[in-house]
């Protein structure tokens, strides 16, 4: 992956972007157990696979979502940040 297609700025070199980690939907803090909460705080999906990730185009400060295969380093799709609220395709709530 050398170029990322930004939903706002089009194709730009990957060096213009910052990685913000996987999109992670947390449990309800009012009802979850302590173990569920600490797992949400610390645990990560470390294995390779297709993941939704936060990325930021640094120059324009624009945050968006990439669907990327972390084994092959191939971008499969990009989504506006609002997609997190409206439900990403196939994302587990």
């Amino acid at each position: 992956m050398k170029i990322i297609v930004c939903p706002l700025n089009g194709p730009r070199p990957v060096s213009e972007f910052a990685y913000g980690g996987e999109v992670r939907l947390g449990p309800d803090p009012d009802t979850c157990t302590d173990a569920e909460w600490s797992s949400h705080v610390f645990d990560r999906s470390g294995s390779p696979g297709v993941k939704y990730e936060w990325w930021c185009h640094i120059a324009s400060g624009f945050w968006f979502i990439l669907s990327r295969d972390t084994a092959r380093d191939v971008v499969l799709g990009s989504f506006p940040a609002e997609a997190v609220r409206h439900g990403l395709p196939g994302a587990v709530p």
């Binding site: 797992s39 645990d43 990560r44 999906s45 470390g46 972390t70 084994a71 380093d73």
Partner: protein
Amino acid sequence: MFAHHDSLKPGYDVVIIGAGGHGLACAYYLARDHGIRNVAVLEKGYIGGGNTGRNTTIIRSNYLTPEGVKFYDESVRLWQDLGEDFDLNLFYSTRGHYTLAHTDSAMRTMRWRAEVNKHFGVRSEAVDAAFVKRGIPSIDMTCGGHAPILGALFHEPGAIARHDAVAWGYGRGADRRGVEIHQQTEVTGIRLQGGKVVGVDTTRGSIATSRVLCAVAGYTPRVLDMVDLHTPIYIHPLQAMVSEPVKPWLDPIIVSGSLHVYVSQTARGELVMGASLDPYELHQTRSTLDFVEGLSSHMLDMFPFLSEVKVNRQWAGLSDMTPDFAPIMGVTPVEGFFLDAGWGTWGFKATPVCGKTMSHTVATGRNHPLIEGFTMDRFARYQLTGEKGAASVGH
């Protein structure tokens, strides 16, 4: 150098996944110190082909937390007579280790580390700019004018060693004591019964065992999936590169957190150089031009006379990173499944002490006292072992 075994036995007392330095060291001490010789070390590639052969070979104990300092100090102690133990030249070379400080806040961290180190009997000192210049006469003290060196943490026992020989030494020592090393043997599953380990499935057949040690560096999450354990470990590549050989001019090991560089010169004259982690998750060991350009420019800030020296090779390894930059070791909620993981960018120096402590843990079923700060359950207790301040560069 190693016996070849045509087939796996039906069962072993202990199965170790990963024939890198850590896995082989554990096998060695299990056989030598604990009399457990019916051990299989399974390796999907070849001996020492993972991060054992991909690191920049720096050995030091100038850490930040008491847990870390005690642990790595024991490792440095074990390194001293390891070559003798193995009857193999590890090219262990004590050089002295400078962690350069370019800002007041970095100097403050160096003083903090020096005081913690000295408290535990580790030889580290916060030193001023003049001391640095005497120790490294060829360095540009202004670093190109934009990052003047104010001082450093000087760690006298800092050393380098020949990393492949470490894996070979431990492997040969284990092999001679009856441990079976099976290369080209990939683990495909771990069988559990009632929350206990009962066996391991591999590409060369299934074996029965009640104890499994996972020592697979950047592949840890994939093995953890087999036993349904969750950890904070995440994987980023770490790259390194080496220059053409030049005449000896750099005796000490130099680290600059601000410039994201660590460098030493090998006995062959090559400069071995490393920098920060790659910036995003990736399960590939590809190399990038960005890395060579960035690291070279920072090397030239410190040593401008290297501008005509060629870079010969570059490579990458997969780092299993943790949020507090400390490893995750010891027993796990799955009975019989032991973890030696989370070794991120700092695992090579710990090879001997990991073998010692994990062999004790596997043999007795209880965590060795030296690894109590590194257990998997520290996250649920929110009691992290913050070692980020002692990472060689700001990853």
